[in-house]
Structure formats: C-alpha cells, structure tokens
C-alpha cells in the first residue's frame, strides 16, 4: 500500500511547508517525538501509522485550511475503507430483507447479518450467538435491559446501583426504570483520582441491590474500571452486572466470560464501524426469562389477532427490519481490528497516550482532570479532559477547530460527573490508533496559541 505517498500528498510529512500553520515546530523538530515527521517508525503491530492512516479516507481532508487532526475519537471513530466498501458492496450486490425471502439475495443478506452476529459473539467471547442482540447502539442496548429485565425482575424497593462516572445512557434509563418499578437508584461515588474502588462500592452497597450498571472505560476521564472485580463483588451478593463497553471495545480485549458480567452493551460507531448499529450481550438464561420489549415483525413465532408467541433468542429482541447495512459494516470493522490486532492497537495507543500526557502537562495554564489523564492511575485509555486557564471550553474548542483540530467540549453527556469535577464544561481530546505524535504536538502548540489569543 502506498501509505507514504498518500501521507505526503496530504502534507502530513511536510508540516513545515504548510502555509499559515502557526505553532509550526522549529528546526529541531517536535519535542519528544521520535523524529521530525512526527511518527516515522511508529507502528501499529506490523504496519506503520502512516500506512494505517491511509486506510481512513477522511483523514485526508483539511479543515479551515489545515490537515484534519481528529482527536474526538471517544465521541465517534472514523471509518476505514474496508468498512465503507462493505456497506457499498452490500447495497450494490446483496441488499434484501433478512430471515424471510426465499430468493438468493435474501439468503445472502441473512447470511451476512448472522455472520456479523457471530463476529460480535467472538469479539466479546459470548458462549453462543443467541446471547448477542443487535441494537442501534449502546444506548438502545441498555434501554433494552432497563425495560425488559427491569419490568419483569425489578420489584418495588429493589436497588439499582450506578456510578458517578456514568454516561447519561447508563444513568437515565435506570432513572426511568426505577421510577416505573418503584425501585431505588443509588450511586457509587468516584475517588479523588476519578476511579471506582471496592471500598467505595462496599460503602454504597445496599443488600437490596439487584443490578450494578457500570462503565468499563469512562468517556470523560479515560479510567479503565476493574469490572471483573466489581462483577465478582456483586455476584457474591446476588446482584447482576451490566457493563457499558462503548468506550472499551475499540481499545481493549473484552471478554464477557472472563469479566463475568451478565449484560454488556457496545456501539459499532466507536469501534470504526457505522453509526446506528450496536449490540447487547446478555447471559442466555437471563435473556430467555425476559419478555420482548418491542413488538413487530421478526420477533414473533406465531401471531393471532388476540395474542402472539415469541421467536427464539436473539430475534425475540429484534423487532422490525434490522440494520443489515450496519451489521455488515460492523462485521468489516471487527475484521479490520483483528487484522491490526487489538494488542498492537493497545500498545500504540498507550505510547501515544503517554506522549500526550507529557506534552499536555507542559501546556501553561492547563488543568488535567483525573488520575488517568495525569498518569497517576493505570491502566488508562487515551482520553484527556482538561481546562485551559479561565478560558471556556467552548472557546478553546473553537480555537482548535480553526487549527483543524477536532476535540469535544462540554459535559460529555455526563453532567453528574462534571458537577463532581467542579467544572460545567471541559475540553476533551481522545485518541485512536491512527493518531500521530505530530497531531499531539499540534494540539499542544495550538493550546499555547489559544491562551495567548484569549488572555
């Protein structure tokens, strides 16, 4: 693959030649980076980062006249060409509705859809494909449990335990479910370092706890929680555990059997797949016992005008025509990640994160939030929430956008956590394996420039 040429054509290897780029490095090159180009020699397994970048067409574009530096990966990841191709090929060659048609296209579409389910099953090491329900994403997967499980198993006076670092998607569905069922919602506070610890969970434990809903990786802090220990703790006390793995699946090996969780939710779009597809892993015995949560086609076995019987797992939970395009794209994304190798991805992302930690810590006036971002807590994902002096997060993000750097600013859909941190809004830079040292240098330099601009 002509990765080098592709990179040169978009000016990544020639940042000095890029007119108008402020904060351009001096002749000595980038501080700390292995070489002047910013990532020569950097590898994701057996492939160079330059080569890997060429798989992502969007990384070619410019924003406000600068090469795009996409550092908003915790919001959504970019899509590699194999994913885009898989979706196009599906519509050009195989589009049909699944599970019904007796024609060739229908059979092929069904096979592709169910093959994707098998890939998700192996990705999270579920025991059976019956334990994998396709959803629109993590939010819908959690809502499925907060509806079908809660409405059949949660009693008045029962407790659902969440944590202070949950995304709204793993908080609001439980607020709704508890309100419907007369159950009680409690939360585990985070430590001063932005982590969850067992003493904290023990302190918040209520003997009536029926389910613990916890994130694997914090979308704000980058903390990687020991969900295996949390699951063991909860199970020893008779409670179930739901893991929000939205931020985990693109970066870590996720093994539901090893973790011992009962439910796990994931999104395709955060792992280089398309938007609108995700999955729920559920322990088979639990899914069997749960009633359907949406009615319609596909989820039924037989229907009379008065009543219906339900389809087998997992289709019982998949009412209506599914997102076959999404499943096919997700399937390709899983293949892509496997080809790169998750351990190799993790190694390079850790190296990048370590470099970012150092560069960001040097920016004058910066405040990094949480031990994961500051480097005092391991393991950590490449997520960096920060504020810059008294400058508002929106202003920082707007300035970075002028420099072609994409970050997120705000409460990151975790308002309770923002309140705990004492800042309504932070800037968040989040990394993926296609990011480079050079992009981190551009971020750090642009932050210095932003400070000069606003102060």
């Amino acid at each position: 693959m002509g990765g080098t040429h592709a990179a040169e054509s978009r000016g990544i290897l020639n940042p000095l030649g890029h007119a108008g780029y402020r904060g351009a490095p001096n002749a000595a090159g980038y501080r700390g980076a292995p070489n002047a180009a910013g990532y020569r020699g950097a590898m994701v397994g057996s492939r160079s980062v330059e080569d890997v970048r060429a798989d992502f067409p969007i990384l070619d574009r410019t924003v406000n006249g600068r090469p795009l530096a996409y550092l908003d990966n915790a919001a959504t990841s970019q899509k590699p060409r194999p994913v885009l191709d898989a979706i196009r090929v599906y519509y050009e060659h195989g589009n049909a509705n699944v599970h019904r048609a007796l024609h060739t296209l229908g059979e092929e579409a069904t096979a592709a859809y169910e093959e994707a389910r098998g890939k998700v099953q192996r990705l999270v090491n579920a025991r059976s494909s019956r334990e994998v329900v396709f959803t629109r994403g993590t939010t819908e997967a959690i809502n499925l449990v907060a509806s079908a499980w809660a409405d059949s198993a949660l009693q008045a006076g029962d407790v659902v335990l969440v944590t202070e670092m949950e995304h709204h998607s793993n908080l609001v569905p439980w607020q709704l479910a508890c309100a419907r069922r007369g159950a009680i919602l409690k939360h585990v506070p985070i430590t001063a370092e932005g982590t969850l610890d067992l003493p904290g969970i023990e302190g918040s434990w209520d003997p009536r706890t029926r389910l613990v809903a916890v994130t694997y990786v914090s979308n704000v802090l980058g903390t990687i929680n020991d969900v295996k220990a949390i699951a063991a703790f909860a199970h020893a006390r008779g409670a179930l555990v739901l893991v929000d793995a939205a931020q985990a699946v693109a970066h870590l090996r996720v093994d539901v059997q090893d973790l011992g969780c009962d439910f796990l939710a994931l999104s395709g779009h955060k792992m280089y797949g398309p938007m609108g597809i995700g999955a729920l892993y559920g322990r088979e015995s639990l899914l069997e016992a749960m009633p359907p949560w949406m009615g319609g086609g596909e989820m039924i076995r037989s229907v009379s005008l008065e009543s219906s019987t339900w389809n087998d797992l997992p289709w019982k939970f998949e009412a209506g025509t599914p997102n076959v395009e999404g499943a096919v794209g997700l399937s390709a994304a899983i293949d892509y990640l496997h080809t790169l190798g998750l351990p190799a991805v993790r190694r390079w992302e850790e190296e990048l994160a370590s470099y970012a930690r150092g560069r960001l810590a040097e920016v004058s006036g910066i405040t990094l939030y949480g031990g994961a971002a500051r480097g005092t807590v391991t393991p950590a994902a490449g997520v960096f929430p920060f504020t810059l002096g008294a400058i508002h997060a929106h202003d920082v993000a707007q300035f970075l956008d002028r420099e072609g750097i994409a970050v997120r600013a705000g409460h990151h859909c975790a308002q309770p956590l923002a309140r705990r941190l004492g800042v309504p809004a932070t800037v968040r830079a989040s990394l993926a394996f296609y990011n480079s040292f050079f992009e981190i240098d551009r971020l750090a330099d642009a932050l210095e420039a932003a400070r000069r601009f606003y102060e």
Binding site: N64, A390, H392, H394, Q398, F399, G410, H411
Partner: protein, 146 residues
C-alpha cells in the same frame, strides 16, 4: 477574514476581556439563573426599570464563554435607557436574527450588535450568544417565565 476571525472579532474580544455590567449578584437566588444546556453555563441577570418605565440598569453575573460573556456585556449597554417594550423588541430581534428566523442583516442597524452576524457560521454557538437575552426577556416586567 476566516469564519473564526469573523466570530471572535475585536469588539467581541473587548467585551469578553472587559465585560460591562458584570457584577456580583450573589443576592439573586440560583433558582433564577438561566442555563445553557449544551455546556452547563449559567447566567444571573438583574434588570431594573425606573419610574419612567425605562430600563435603568442591567447587570449580569456568571462564568461563560467569550461569546456569551461578550453578548451579555453588550446587552447591558444596549438595553439601558430603552423602554420596556423597546427592550423586549430588541431582545426579540437579536434572538430571531441569530436563530435565522429573520435575516441577520437587521443587526446592521443595531450598532455593535452587528458583531454577532458572524455567528451564523456557528449554529452551535447561537445558544451561547442568546442566553443573556433570553434571561432579559424573562426579567422584563410583564414577562411570564418561560
């Protein structure tokens, strides 16, 4: 001029760095604060109308971005001396112009408020710029808290 420079032009940066009408409004209950749901910023407003029926003084308190701070600052100057109905109309016009309900060119005749025309390229920031003005609409006598 880039869209960014158009947004953060000198007049806006000046009002951001030295906001007019900014005061400590601890005596105003937090429940009266207005919140921008996209970022969690809040603003408190104190608007006094004299016996003449004109806006005598507008003061604001709160931490916000450059756009919301500059907009609140400019607003305290703009509304002062206007009758209640003029003030309401001015706020209404400003909000509608930024939201695109009416052409942004109406801002040209409103003095320094024209500086906010650049916001049209940044729809996400419209809430920042209109926060104080929504607060003013609610604070003007005869308003119903929306």
């Amino acid at each position: 001029m880039s869209a960014f420079d158009d947004l953060y032009q000198e007049i806006i940066m000046d009002h951001y760095r030295s906001p007019r009408g900014k005061a400590n409004l601890d005596h105003v209950p937090q429940a009266m604060a207005h919140e921008n749901p996209t970022c969690g910023d809040t603003i408190k407003l104190e608007l006094t109308v004299g016996d003449s029926g004109r806006v005598e003084r507008v003061r604001f308190d709160g931490k916000g971005c450059a756009i919301s701070t500059a907009s609140a600052s400019l607003m305290t100057e703009t509304l002062q001396g206007l009758s209640v109905s003029e003030a309401r109309e001015r706020a209404d016009t400003f909000i509608k112009a930024l939201r695109g309900d009416i052409p942004a060119s109406v801002l040209d005749s409103l003095g320094d408020l024209a500086a906010f025309k650049g916001l049209a390229s940044f729809p996400v920031r419209v809430k920042c710029a209109t926060l104080a003005w929504h607060a003013a609409l609610v604070s003007l006598p005869g308003s119903q808290k929306s």
